[in-house]
């Protein structure tokens, strides 16, 4: 198992000018680890991160879009994997942080905890590239290469919680974040 914040740090080392949409506790960790205006911390409704990412990727083909999703969130929108694979945006990178539970809602286990293969589902949905990591050294070694692939790319990261992040939902959900994000992604690269 890897720490979630260590995995996010690894992704951040390779982000370049990618826009990142992160959900729930992954978003709170991202907020702690990065102050970039190219971060968006909330999808507005549980499960919608992957679909937001698809819209952003289709609308901005010149910019890499990364979605930092949760396993419980993705279970609410599994069909989006088929939709994304069909639309095939080459600039979309979908990371799912698999902690096996609904951490923001009492840490109850997800259905299929430990048995479901999200990378397998993505592969069978038609993603051309699908990976799963449970070892940080391996993920660190592979990260640059998989982020150089033509997407859509799907990555499952098997994680446990790292250092606690401030539960600053007022900040991450503020309308100001959306305005800042839009200004940042639409400004000239």
């Amino acid at each position: 198992m890897m720490r979630r914040d260590d995995c996010i740090q690894t992704i951040l080392q390779h982000r370049g000018d990618a826009a990142i949409l992160a959900v729930y506790n992954t978003g709170l960790d991202l907020r702690r680890l990065s102050a970039s205006r190219l971060n968006l911390y909330s999808a507005g409704a549980m499960g919608q991160g992957s679909s937001w990412g698809l819209g952003l990727a289709l609308g901005m083909p010149e910019r890499k879009i990364m979605v930092l999703d949760g396993d419980g969130s993705l279970l609410m929108n599994l069909g989006s994997l088929v939709t994304i694979a069909n639309a095939a945006p080459p600039n979309l990178y979908h990371f799912v942080f698999e902690n096996g539970c609904y951490e923001a809602n009492g840490s109850h286990p997800i259905p299929g905890q430990g048995r479901v293969s999200f990378a397998g589902i993505a592969r069978e949905a038609g993603f051309p590239h699908s990976y799963e990591f449970d070892d940080l050294a391996t993920f660190e070694r592979m990260a640059a290469g998989l982020l150089a692939l033509e997407g859509p790319v799907f990555v499952t990261l098997k994680v446990v919680q790292g250092d606690p992040s401030p539960q600053d939902y007022a900040y991450v959900n503020a309308a100001e974040r959306l305005r800042e994000f839009r200004e940042a992604i639409t400004s000239r690269k």
Partner: protein, 170 residues
């Protein structure tokens, strides 16, 4: 006697006038022949086929965030299924999600609130409760309101719904 048909080419022209680039859709029999098939076979729009309607709320929001215009073309059952996404993304996050919604099996020239169908009767009261701008297209003259409604949605960053009350003809 008001003509009770909804011509698809006029809706497509209205979408072009509104500078729509993407049509994001789950098929709906009310709009299938007259709207979705011509869009799928044409080159005016990029079509994104969805597995489920709530995905489309977010896809349209992401496109809007990127500065691109889209409409979500779905059935009223899909609208009802997507209420939480519309609540969280279109309403609370104030995103200009523009929806064209077929009213499956609505009786001709009967206002949706007076339909015998429970599912149809509740659509407009729900949209009212969510303070979402909406109107019903049941004849050709009502199509001309569509471009300005879409322009207003993007200008104010608010959602809007155009309900399609008759089968759209090719």
């Amino acid at each position: 006697m008001i003509e009770s048909t909804v011509p698809g080419p006029a809706i497509i022209a209205a979408l072009r006038q509104a500078k729509i680039e993407f049509v994001v859709s789950v098929p709906d029999i009310t709009t299938s022949q007259g709207l979705l098939w011509p869009i799928a076979n044409g080159k005016d729009f990029t079509l994104v086929r969805l597995c489920k309607e709530d995905e489309g709320v977010s896809v349209c929001a992401g496109l809007a965030m990127a500065g691109r215009r889209a409409v979500l073309l779905i059935q009223h059952t899909g609208l009802l299924d997507s209420i939480n996404a519309i609540r969280g993304i279109a309403c609370e996050q104030a995103q200009p999600v523009c929806m064209v919604v077929g009213l499956l099996a609505k009786e001709p020239n009967v206002p949706p609130r007076q339909s015998k169908s429970f599912g149809l009767r509740i659509v407009e009261p729900i949209l009212d409760a969510m303070a979402i701008e909406h109107y019903c297209i049941e004849n050709p003259s009502e199509i001309s309101r569509l471009p300005s409604a879409i322009d207003r949605a993007y200008a104010t960053s608010q959602p809007m719904v155009a309900l399609i009350g008759q089968t759209v003809t090719p």
